[in-house]
Amino acid sequence: MSELNSMIELNDIHVCFPSAKGVIEAVNGVSLKIEREEVFGIVGASGGGKSTLVRTINLLERPTSGTVRIDGVDVTAFRGAELRGLRLRTGMIFQQFNLIQTKSIFANVAFALKVAGTNKADIDQRVSELLSLVGLSDKADAYPAMLSGGQKQRVGIARALANSPQVLLCDEPTSALDPESTAAILELLKDINRKLGITVVIITHEMAVVKTICDRVAVMKAGEIVETGSVYEVFAQPRNEYTRQLVARTLNLELPPRLLEGQQGRILKLHYRGERAEEPVISAAVQQFNVQINILHGRIEYIGEHPLGVLIVALDGHAERVEEAVAYISSHTADVEVIQ
């Protein structure tokens, strides 16, 4: 239980399923370290093996090969009581909430405590605490069918937190929710991470979710991790082609083709990443090379506290001068892409 250990350490995890067409490799050699108290995202298209991967952490899915370490302990071979003990320490929430329809909200949360052998008086007190934490104190006697999606997920969260776990696994927690509920649930998860110091692992196909709450992210495709890094790094400088597509789609950096039609001269796409101010470069280029610079498109995203922006500009004027201006801007900014 040393502080030096990663909270979760997956080492060369393979998960294979038999199928009619032979063996399907859902997870293909994934190694990951998830640190204490971070919010870690695993993003990728559906069918990419994310859900299977996250289920190996609490062994809902047993890896075909590879090891799972939780808090430094190899849990891969855990069974019976040992395995149930592990699961008490790792809460999980689901896309479809998976509440017991025939139990009240109170009883749904109480079930998790009963499983841990908590006595009746403590259960009553703890359930009220949990329901107040997720903002559902007035719904204790309601049944799941009477709640909205967002409220159901809050019950799921209360249930997952019942036994004060160290880790909260979230399998597409907002994919069945409307935008408002999504924002509220992500806010709640971030809050829980900060206040309770719980390590959160979140599976999603939406980069927007990653951008909102994750510290680090792994991008998964066809059972493999293609890129891992801080969310800012991955958004600012995606190294893998698949990641680039995901990021571009989220940040909506593509220029409408209509804008490019009839443009003379050069068109540049400038990326700026906070630490380098772009404005002086542009105005300096205008003055120094006597070219016209027209801003076609601009967007700034904040990832955590850090701005990430893109500016698409058109340069027009004397051809030679324009080339000089392009060279000047390129040498003074982090990342320039010449579109035309």
Binding site: L60, G85, T90, Q96, N98, I100, F111, A116, A145, L169
Partner: protein, 220 residues
């Protein structure tokens, strides 16, 4: 009318008493044995927490074999067993043996079908909570399938009343026996109609009670 109203009432009372005892014994056994059997069949299925191919296949086969034998034939087939268990092959107690066997198999299959309707995600969530198999069975499986279990129980009870009429053929007594003896063999159509009307009322009553209970158990 060839015999007095009072006699008819007495005969009817006796017959219904016999039917109730036959159906009562076998429906109780269907509950006691059918639910565990259906559960066993379900939890031993692929991907569930007590996965066991052998139990699953053998259990499923046994249930299907019993269900494929027409009840009249089952009635005769188990006569030696009945003799050994009850010490007689005549009367409601003896008729309860084949009835119980048939209803256990019948209800076990309905229990299994209801359990299959339980959302696997909910079972997974309970597993992820750290619940033991027994806790999952009691707090998730039986609870979530309760409306289905009640509906299945109603269907079983109604079918049993029908089967119990056949049991009359081998000397089980009961309402069916009365209807056949008087209505069919002695051409006392009125008595036959009277028993049929009473049976319709009985079945209707059972069905209504079952529906109300199932609706109350359903929270979704």
């Amino acid at each position: 009318m060839s015999y007095a109203l009072q006699e008819l009432l007495q005969d009817l009372l006796k017959a219904f008493g016999e039917t109730f005892s036959m159906v009562g014994i076998s429906i109780t056994l269907a509950l006691v044995a059918g639910i565990p059997l259906g559960l066993l069949l379900y939890v031993s299925d692929r991907g569930l927490f007590m996965e066991n191919r052998f139990i699953n296949v053998v259990g499923g086969l046994a249930i299907n074999v019993i269900r494929s034998v027409p009840f009249v034939i089952l009635l005769v087939l188990v006569l030696p067993l009945t003799q050994w268990l009850v010490g007689s092959t005549i009367g409601p107690g003896a008729a309860a043996v084949p009835l119980s066997i048939a209803s256990i198999a019948f209800y076990a299959r309905l229990v299994h079908a209801s359990l299959c309707e339980v959302d696997r995600g909910v079972i997974e969530a309970a597993t992820a909570t750290g619940a033991t198999p027994l806790q999952i069975i009691c707090h998730v499986l039986l609870l979530e399938s309760l409306p289905g279990l009640l509906r299945g129980f109603t269907v079983t009870a109604v079918s049993l009343i029908g089967y119990s009429a056949m049991a009359g053929i081998v000397g089980g007594g009961g309402v069916g026996d009365l209807a056949i003896r008087f209505g069919y063999y002695r051409y006392e159509t009125k008595i036959m109609i009277a028993t049929v009307v009473l049976l319709i009322i009985l079945v209707q009553l059972i069905q209504s009670i079952g529906d109300v209970l199932a609706r109350r158990a359903n929270k979704s």
